[in-house]
Amino acid sequence: MSRSRKLHITDKLMRLLLVSAASTSVLIVCLIFLFLFKEAGPFALQPGLEKLFDSQWIPVSFQEEHFGVGPLLSGSALVTALAMLVTVPISVLVAIYIAEIAHPTEREFLKPFIEILASIPSVVLGFFGLLVVAPLIKALFGLTTGLTALTGALLLSLMAIPTIISLSEDALVSVPYALKNASLALGASHLQTIFRVTLPAALPGIVAAVMLGIGRVIGETMAVLMVTGNSAILTFSPLASVRTMTATIAAEMGEVPFGSVHYQALFWIGIILLGITFALNIVAQRVLKKYGMMK
């Protein structure tokens, strides 16, 4: 075997190894979807998918079991929407400050703190919510209990803020200098340039950042399970108790008789959840790609 031939083979093997490593993630995603459908499948035949459109979620009952996903979807939607209302303005303003205004030393000081916020375990946040945020909400609104959708949303915004800040900041930094300089040359002030030129130019990136933030929030489980009270009510009041899809799976999966209708219904919730996060991610990636912000 000649030396060049040997090299050629090693090259090929190396390539193969890298391709295999790269393809595992694709395979895993496909396998997860496949597995979910395999477990959830029988529900479609017996009792039928229309059961998922019931208006109630009462999985354990001596009367009649209800597997309506509506209240859980609305719960997840409500908590996520509230979290975003809090998160987006704060995150974008912080990102603007870090990207455009902050002194380099300030930036070095701020960024690690934001990273730390991202790394707090959600159980710890849940405890914090139970002992600090819930009593606060209760006192503030004069409620009987602080276990509400709003409490969950506030905790979730703490989790989404770091994600959205760092991605928005990337978007702002990648706006070409020529644009900013042109604006400044035309006599616009620094702030005018930020809000009329840089921010609009970075908007697609910020939109994508928000979408990824939503994906992060909607899939969060533990912190929400601890503080939202978990009543499966169809409501859009921030001060009511809600049950999110993630909390439902986490709370019920451990006990559910294997292979039962209830078990399959939980898998349907999983499919819906995965579908939502999957779609959000795809759209966000598209937006980023279109505006050339993918790194």
Partner: protein
């Protein structure tokens, strides 16, 4: 695509060859025993285990919670030796066991009373079973309707996955559904916390937990429809069955237990074992 499949095969192969043979055999054979199931019983079973292992150093027992349903599922799937359950096996589960060639043997090892706890400042001291049913099904929403002050009732419950939830639903709610506005909390300690924090709250917890929560929460007396006066849950009233909301706690094994499991179960039923039952806040069976 062919390339990807080939690559995956390669990856698997490397993963498999990377496996190490297990640890070397220990000199003394250690008997291992796994007990899985009810969260209510974890504390009790752990205490039994500690005491039992003192006198049997050659036995290694692992105790895991997760709920009665999890324990029963584990017994059916053959992944646990003993299942601890705070409720009867359901018909569905018995059928599944049959399908898996598992024949569950039931043994009552202790009794538990489910106490109703409210905020210490709540003037109500007792409720009838009927009132409890009306409260938990959402038909009564204010304490003034059951002789208390004018405060909205905050319903607290365990998650539907807990054995306590099912027991309560069957025996107190007369198999009706819980009110949809009941707050479902993961775990008993969260319930006690929530009751301590809210004046209008009511929750149900195991007798042992109610004793521990003294000061943070007040235990209510319960009056069944055929009783002249309310009964406060205590060891006496639970064992005699005078206290209405009580239940047996079970061990399930697959067929007759093996030697190690049998030794352990015998210990649990012995006077020393039943003393531990009393110490952990439950009620002895013998």
């Amino acid at each position: 695509m062919k390339k990807v499949a080939l690559a995956l095969g390669l990856l698997l192969a490397t993963a498999l060859t990377g496996c190490d043979s297990g640890p070397s055999q220990q000199s003394t054979p250690v008997q291992s025993l796994s007990i899985k199931g009810s969260d209510t019983m974890v504390h009790l079973v752990s205490s039994w285990t500690e005491e039992f292992m003192k006198s049997h150093p050659d036995v290694d027992i692992s105790v895991t919670g997760g709920g009665s349903g999890t324990g029963i599922a584990a017994l059916i799937n053959g992944t646990t030796d003993i299942c601890a359950a705070s409720r009867d096996m359901k018909e569905k589960e018995r059928k599944q066991a049959e399908g898996n060639k598992v024949s569950p043997v039931e043994l009552s090892v202790a009794r538990d009373g489910i106490a109703l706890i409210v905020h210490p400042e709540n003037p109500v001291t007792s409720l009838t079973i009927d009132q409890l049913r009306l409260i938990y099904t959402g038909k009564v929403t204010n304490w003034k309707e059951v002789g208390g002050s004018d405060t909205p009732i905050l319903l607290l419950s365990r998650e539907s996955s807990s054995g306590t939830f099912v027991f309560f639903q069957e025996h107190v709610l007369n198999k009706e559904d819980f009110s949809p506005s009941a707050r479902l909390l993961p775990g008993t300690s969260a319930l006690v916390q929530a009751v301590a924090a809210d004046r209008g709250a009511i929750a149900y917890v195991g007798l042992g937990f109610a004793a521990e929560a003294q000061g943070k929460a007040k235990t209510l007396g319960v009056q069944a429809s055929d009783q002249p006066s309310p009964v406060i849950p205590s060891e006496e009233t639970v064992r005699s069955g005078a206290y209405a909301v009580s239940r047996p706690l079970f061990f399930y094994t697959n067929g007759t237990p093996n030697e190690t499991a049998k030794q352990f179960i015998d210990f649990c039923l012995s006077p020393a074992g039943q003393k531990i039952v009393r110490e952990t806040g439950y009620v002895p069976v013998s």
